[in-house]
């Protein structure tokens, strides 16, 4: 891979960091390689919003190569809301542009004395004042920075007001609407007084065997274009699964308290396609084009349409059946630069606490929180983004918001990350996905709901088990996590139905490796264990592997009425499948050694290793 550019914003010093060759071979790139690079610096004591905290933008070996959905990259560090490993991947065109500038990563530390933005024009880096941009929203900032650097082809990553004010789930945006949403990397960027990073590159992106790679990528993209799932996502977006998810009782309704939503058809991707959809957008090289472009009757301005999580979060989750309002609410979050899952989940908690009388109008500043009231929802979004009134507490995430009112157990979160919108009572594999994900309740480290819907992967033995299966699916989930970890190493979009053996061929051609399918899966397992070890070092124990109370109460209605996952039974089977120590929840010494993580084994098991 190309070097990483290290930038210390306190001193203004830069240096090129060469990635050790063995790490590239063992971890490939993206989030896995980032975990290896950051491993030793991520400690329990590290304040994620301090100058010392790292913020690493890292590419995959295929980023920008027009491979199947490989326009993506990841942003990693320590999560400010979770205190754990944080990674958030993002599409658009910024990553490919950075590679074309000659770097495969930017490693930011330090803190600028005043707001700045970075302008990387080829290998030339300028640190410019962003004082005049501070307070501007994400869209305006991108436009202004582009205008200032005077090159329309420049790509810009930015934070909005939420990042500046360190809302703990602030996101980072690029390319007018592509978001690194989860785990608050926007807050980390804001804590460094870094408003934006503009990049322009003109080099060819290196590919080890371009001739072979071109053939493979065109076959792969052709297959992908014709794939049923890709066709669904292209036609109706990710929100196209709404009816099916609701039918299964896998869609959270009224803050995870109901199993069905009678108005689902009004807030689905199909409805959007029939009414307000006017176009689609895609990341670099992507043949799927999941992005929605919509026009609302009131202003006829083109804007980004919501994907599944935003549609459910501001829709069924809050009993809101107004699709156009959901578009506006998602758009508002984007302008502030906030994760729509965490924002809507935390707002859901506010409504839930209000209904129970735990908070009142005295706390909300006079706003009555009536389910489905779009005006109330919008006011809360604005209060969070600006950290006004109750919004200042809500900006710290559902866990701390709940705890502030002595109701932490009511918050639907795991380890400080708000649960996404795939309910494990409808798709039980998600119970393990949420409980064991290295970044909190994440649906993308293993989007096992796809498997529970029927999407198997025969070539690596991920079979279909009942969507209400229990411990018997633990090994399946572990395997799926390892495989998806490789998506985050490549970095490939999880909407791409690319067969694992096809991925191996692409990797080998792009990187000059000689991997087998086994090597692919082993690399995924290695990275999963490494991230677990990072979290163990930062204080995570077996007790952290749990589900919130709400997800363990059966629905009385809908397609999953009466079912709850047996999380303890599932976890026991999972530790066994993983080869983890059942008592502590740490990867066993033997497992770490088997994966070639000797230094990690030493750190986690210390003297035991010496004795062994």
């Amino acid at each position: 891979m190309q070097p990483i550019l290290k930038i210390n914003l306190t001193t203004g010093k830069t240096e090129e960091y060469r990635i050790p060759e063995r790490w590239e071979k063992d971890f490939l790139g993206g989030a896995s390689l980032a975990a290896r690079i950051l491993y030793s610096g991520l400690t329990k004591e590290l304040d994620p919003l301090s100058a010392e905290a790292p913020l690493l933008f890292l590419m995959g070996p295929m980023t920008g190569t027009s491979g199947p959905t490989t326009g993506r990259f990841v942003i990693c560090g320590k999560g400010p809301a979770t205190g754990l490993w944080a990674e958030s991947n993002i599409g658009g065109f910024w990553g490919p542009e950075l590679r074309a500038a000659g770097y495969d990563g930017l490693w930011i530390t330090g803190k600028a004395s005043e707001p700045v933005y970075l302008w990387l024009n080829g290998s030339r880096l300028e640190v410019r004042s962003a004082a005049h941009l501070w307070g501007q929203d994400t869209y305006t900032t991108q436009d202004k920075v582009k205008e200032e650097v005077g090159d329309k082809s420049t790509r810009v990553c930015v934070i909005g007001e939420a990042g500046e004010k360190q809302v703990l789930y602030a996101s980072i945006m690029c390319d007018h609407g592509r978001m690194a949403g989860r785990t608050g990397m926007g807050a980390v960027m804001g804590s460094k007084n870094l408003k934006a990073i503009a990049v322009r590159g003109r080099n060819e992106i290196p590919v080890f065997n371009l001739v072979a790679y071109k053939i493979l990528r065109s076959e792969s993209n052709r297959r992908l274009k014709d794939d049923n799932e890709a066709k669904i996502i292209r036609e109706v977006g990710t929100g196209g699964v709404a009816n099916y998810a609701e039918y299964l009782g896998a869609m959270p309704v009224k803050y995870y308290s109901r199993g069905s939503f009678e108005k689902i058809d009004d807030v689905s991707g199909s409805k959007m396609a029939e009414t307000i959809l006017v176009g689609r957008s895609a990341c670099q090289g992507c043949v799927i084009a999941c992005g929605r472009v919509v026009k609302l009757p009131q202003d006829m301005t083109k804007r980004k349409g919501p994907e599944h999580e935003t549609m459910v979060g501001f829709g069924a989750n809050l009993l809101n059946d107004d699709l156009e309002a959901i578009v506006d609410l998602g758009d508002l979050c984007d302008h502030y630069g906030m994760d729509t899952i965490s924002t809507s989940n935390t707002i859901g908690l506010a409504f839930h606490l209000y209904e129970r009388g735990i908070i009142t109008e005295k706390d909300t500043g006079g706003i009555a929180l009536k389910w489905g009231d779009v005006n109330a929802i919008e006011q809360l979004v604005r209060m969070i983004g600006s950290r006004d009134g109750l919004g200042d507490i809500m900006a710290q995430g559902a866990r701390r918001f709940g705890a502030y009112f002595n109701a932490e157990e009511e918050a639907v979160q795991v380890n400080g990350l708000e649960v996404a919108y795939h309910d494990p009572r409808g798709v039980s594999g998600m119970a393990l996905s949420y409980a064991t994900s290295p970044r909190g309740a994440c649906h993308n480290q293993s989007d096992y709901f796809f498997v529970d819907w029927g999407h198997t992967q025969e070539k690596i033995g991920i079979e279909y088990l009942s969507r209400h299966g229990q411990a018997e699916k633990a090994a399946n989930v572990a395997k799926h996590q390892d495989w998806r970890t490789m998506f985050n190493s490549m970095v490939m979009c999880i909407f791409a139905n690319v067969e694992p053996d096809e991925q191996v061929k692409l990797i080998n051609a792009a990187c000059g490796l000689d991997w087998s399918l086994e090597d692919l899966m082993k690399s995924g397992e290695r990275a999963w264990n490494l991230k677990r070890a990072i979290n163990n070092r930062m204080g995570l124990t077996r007790a952290n592997d749990k589900l919130p109370k709400a997800l363990l109460e059966p629905f009385s209605d809908g397609g999953s009425a009466g079912f709850v996952p047996d999380i303890q039974g599932m976890l026991s089977a999972y530790y066994q499948a993983r080869g983890w120590d059942v008592e502590t929840g740490k990867p066993s010494r033997e497992k770490l050694l088997e994966l070639g993580l000797e230094d990690v084994a030493q750190d986690l098991w210390g003297e035991d290793l010496a004795l062994g």
Binding site: E235, G240, Y244, S268, S270, G454, N497
Partner: protein, 136 residues
């Protein structure tokens, strides 16, 4: 009228069952769309086989065994699968959603409509399984 798959009798049996099954009538009451099934030769099937079904509001308005595709130029959906995969769906060995999500069953037509009507699709498969006594 249970029958051996694939045969004209089987297709007629499916039509009869679709028109008499109360559960299907209820679940599929909003479905509007005719479809082609193309069954690609594999295993015991030596030549491509085509079924046509006209499904409308919980009923089956007609079927046609091995028609020329030109006879129905604009079907709402075209479904294509290998014989073994269709046989696996009918015998319950392949989850129909798995078949669709892994593209073992290729779908052409409005994917949005299909996703909106998954319960209808699944119940259609149930009915088809119930009329199948034997697979060739």
């Amino acid at each position: 009228m249970p029958a051996v798959f694939p045969s004209e009798e089987w297709l007629k049996g499916l039509e009869a069952k679709l028109n008499s099954d109360q559960r299907y009538a209820e679940i599929a009451k909003h479905w509007e769309g005719d479809l082609f099934f193309f069954i690609e030769p594999e295993g015991n099937l030596k030549e491509r086989l085509t079924f046509y079904l006209d499904l409308w509001h919980g009923t089956c308005r007609g079927v046609h065994y091995n028609p020329q595709p030109e006879a129905y130029p604009k079907p709402a959906f075209t479904l294509t699968a290998s014989y073994n995969n269709i046989a696996a769906i009918l015998s319950g060995n392949l989850n129909p959603m798995t078949a669709m999500m892994t593209s073992k069953l290729k779908v052409k037509g409005s994917m949005g409509y299909m996703m909106r009507n998954v319960p209808t699709v699944l119940d259609f498969v149930r009915v088809a399984q119930e009329v199948t006594t034997e697979i060739m």
